[in-house]
Symmetry: C2
Subunit: 326 residues, 2 copies
């Protein structure tokens, strides 16, 4: 073994990731064997973990600020889908070697989003290896108010926030599989690289939506998770799927909206008499929110078009990292 050089593992954490927390519930932050935290009274903890791997979830050459943003965003999106208010995150960063410029940009993207939601980084680990980022996020939810995948009931309406297919189109453009105007391509890429976690929308769903999930694998695949967990089926109107003007300009706009992943919108179900309160809340957030179908008793996912005719497409499987590298 040798005497330490600078910067080493500990210095990396110190240099780029140790920031004084503004949260009163962080008793002890980064720098010890563990962080010490206080959960507020009358709150349960919602906990999620997600890993992004270079070459699988993003090209290794992606702007490190975007990687920092996205690694946090996908976890905040999971908390949003539970109706939880984000509080703390732990970051495990594996990288081939410590590059100050890369780390600085990564930290910038990460903390910009963290600060936007008042989230504190409370744990960190840096190791040498192929580039990958694991973020574990914790949030609060009042007991009984969490929104699960398993609560959809027959007769519930199915809604989705924002627009679908943008990130998938951005990826196809980036990979040279689609031709777009440069400005359109860049807009789609921004949706892919810097998704907006629907944190405030998740709080609107709390105690109101019957079920929710975030759209990470693709609308059809993620809806199937809800249907399976709830023991119900759904009829989806593919012509109602909300798409941006750029996606609408594609011949396969409906397929993109159905199956492209990485949009991180919220997909939720709600009893008809509770939809009004949610729509009012989304209106206040100026967030588009579209009814795209309804829950039925017959298992499975039926796709129809605006005329009520069956819509047949082969592209409704969810994204799976073990099956394809799209």
């Amino acid at each position: 073994m040798q005497e330490p050089l600078v910067p080493g593992e500990f210095d990396l954490i110190d240099l780029y990731f140790r920031r004084r927390s503004a949260r009163g519930d962080v008793i002890l932050g980064i720098g010890d064997d563990a962080a010490v935290l206080t959960v507020p009274a009358a709150r349960q903890l919602a906990v999620t973990v997600d890993t992004l791997v270079a070459g699988v979830h993003f090209p290794a050459a992606t702007d490190p600020a975007a990687i920092g943003h996205k690694a946090l965003a996908v976890n905040l999106s999971d908390l949003a889908a539970m109706g939880a208010e984000p509080a703390w995150v732990a970051l495990s960063l594996t990288l081939p070697q410590p590059e100050p410029r890369w780390l600085e940009a990564f930290a910038e993207g990460f903390f910009a989003l963290a600060e936007q939601y008042g989230v504190s980084l409370v744990g960190g680990d840096t190791t040498r290896g192929p580039l990958s980022i694991t973020v574990q996020a914790s949030g609060f939810v009042p007991p009984g108010m969490d929104v699960r995948r398993s609560g959809a009931h027959v007769g519930d309406a199915i809604y989705v926030t924002g627009t679908l297919g943008d990130a998938g189109l951005g990826l196809a453009w980036q990979q040279g599989r689609r031709t777009l105007e440069a400005s359109d391509g860049a807009a789609m890429r921004a949706r892919l690289d810097c998704p907006t976690p629907r944190v405030e929308a998740g709080l609107v769903l709390r105690g109101r939506a019957s079920a929710a999930i975030d759209v990470s694998d693709g609308l059809a695949g993620d809806l199937r998770h809800v249907l399976r967990a709830s023991g119900v089926g759904a009829v989806l109107d593919v012509d109602a799927l909300p798409v941006s003007a750029v996606v609408a300009g594609q011949a396969d706009a409906r397929e993109l909206a159905l199956s492209a992943g990485d949009d991180y919108e919220l997909l939720f179900t709600v009893a008809p008499d509770r939809a009004g309160a949610i729509l009012a809340g989304m209106d206040e957030l100026a967030l588009r929110c579209t009814c795209i179908g309804r829950i039925v008793s017959e298992p499975g996912l039926q796709l129809t078009d605006a005329a009520g005719q069956p819509f047949v497409t082969p592209v409704t499987a969810g994204y799976d990292h073990f099956r394809e590298n799209d």
Copy 2:
């Protein structure tokens, strides 16, 4: 995109990692966007995260049961070093492809240790990529009772549990850098591959030790973290360092004990009048616990031998994944 094959990402979690939790504080376990958990009244949360990367922290061909054990053990060790009682873990597993036999063995090693400490797996993510494992562990500690690195005081005695250098010797043997009797080598390898997190010992330290850390990087390096955090120095008696008979048989036994990592023993400091209670507790656990030095005001780490003469060695730097791949 294609229709799903089996097993896919979700099936992996279901098949190998979703087990009903025996803990009443797990309101909702694996299978939704986030787990929902209840922290007991009058307890704070201790949270830690650690990543193990194939080729860096273990050879890729290591027995997967040992990898599962170790990935959890190193995190439980961090909680032990805070005096926290382990409760929940989240697992993020990145692997090149889903191999049922590998996953089965990994899960076996992981859950055997988890069950031993009544720990529940509450979150999981599997992704495709170079083999690496991130575990985030949470535990409970009464307010004000956590044991930090920063609490060492001048006059405190320095103790360490168990024996030092075994794991490092096991690694050297495995890599063909040392010759050992096969049974000795295997015993050292077991210390490397299947470390015992000192969970019960950590509870003995709670409210009694002034500072603690687990020995992951090497005794000298980890002690330096305590000294730096506490603003003190230490005098260490290298002849007092506890070693196994196998390590004692090596010409550089003291260097191994000082600088080899991965032993996951607890290093702690304690005021002289509180040492008795801790030693009694360790006795009850039948865990060796050795006084190896004392905290002094002069900064830095002074090494002496049993005769009080300075001990000079170049091998006192802590392990750092960005500096060497030992």
